[in-house]
Point group: C2
Chain length 136, copies 2
């Protein structure tokens, strides 16, 4: 688990510092799309000397290297998650803030078709569903 981000850094030529290892570890262990403040607070528990500027610099670096994904969900702050092989989208509970990850091949295919229809190659996409729990 933790290894994976570190390995990706090596394969992408990203220098592995002590701080980056810790941030990588925290991101690997987080399954809840934390924002920078939250990451900083988790990282600080492991090594309190790491500054928030380093957290900002590191998530940006990881994002540019394709190691983590950045999301701009409602709420203003950017949130991050480790990028895994399997792509997924998000279903967000607007009451609780809970985030469910899902995959739907059919939607993926249709997106490509739409882009194609307008003469575009799809490079990236963002699909967020906002919902409330049904009262069964």
């Amino acid at each position: 688990m933790t290894e994976s981000i570190e390995k990706k850094c090596i394969s992408k030529g990203v220098k592995l510092t002590e701080q980056r290892k810790i941030i990588a570890k925290v991101m690997s262990e987080s399954n809840d799309h934390p924002d920078v403040d939250e990451l900083y607070s988790r990282v600080s528990k492991i090594d309190s000397r790491i500054s928030i500027a380093t957290v900002y610099r590191t998530v940006k670096l990881f994002e540019e290297s394709g190691i983590v994904a950045k999301h701009d969900f409602k709420g203003g702050k950017a949130r991050y998650e480790e990028l895994s092989e399997s792509h997924h989208d998000h279903l967000i509970d607007i009451k609780t803030g809970e985030i469910i990850e899902f995959v739907d091949e059919e939607i993926e295919k249709l997106q490509k078709k739409v882009a194609d229809k307008y003469g575009y190659d799809l490079v990236d996409h963002k699909l967020e569903l906002y919902g409330v729990k049904k009262n069964k």
Copy 2:
């Protein structure tokens, strides 16, 4: 055209001030999802005494009243567009920044199905496709 936002304000009990009328007019006539700075600059040409704080307050008010939609496309700034009856999503050209609006009923249906599968009622959603023009 311009009437529509004003009518919506009245039907939602939003007080119609001179500034709001101007901002509504500018938004109605904009087909390019402007950010607040851009709106402010367009509004200023009509009445230079309107402050940017009023533009911020007004777009927020309009958004909460369901009159305009707010988007957080890549680039940090929030961008706005008049909300029309017909829902649509966005295909964004990452080279030029051009935005194409599209509708795909099938994707809409599938989204509802996904939410349903997890026990949610879909309240809102966001679908953005990022692409580059094909060299035919």
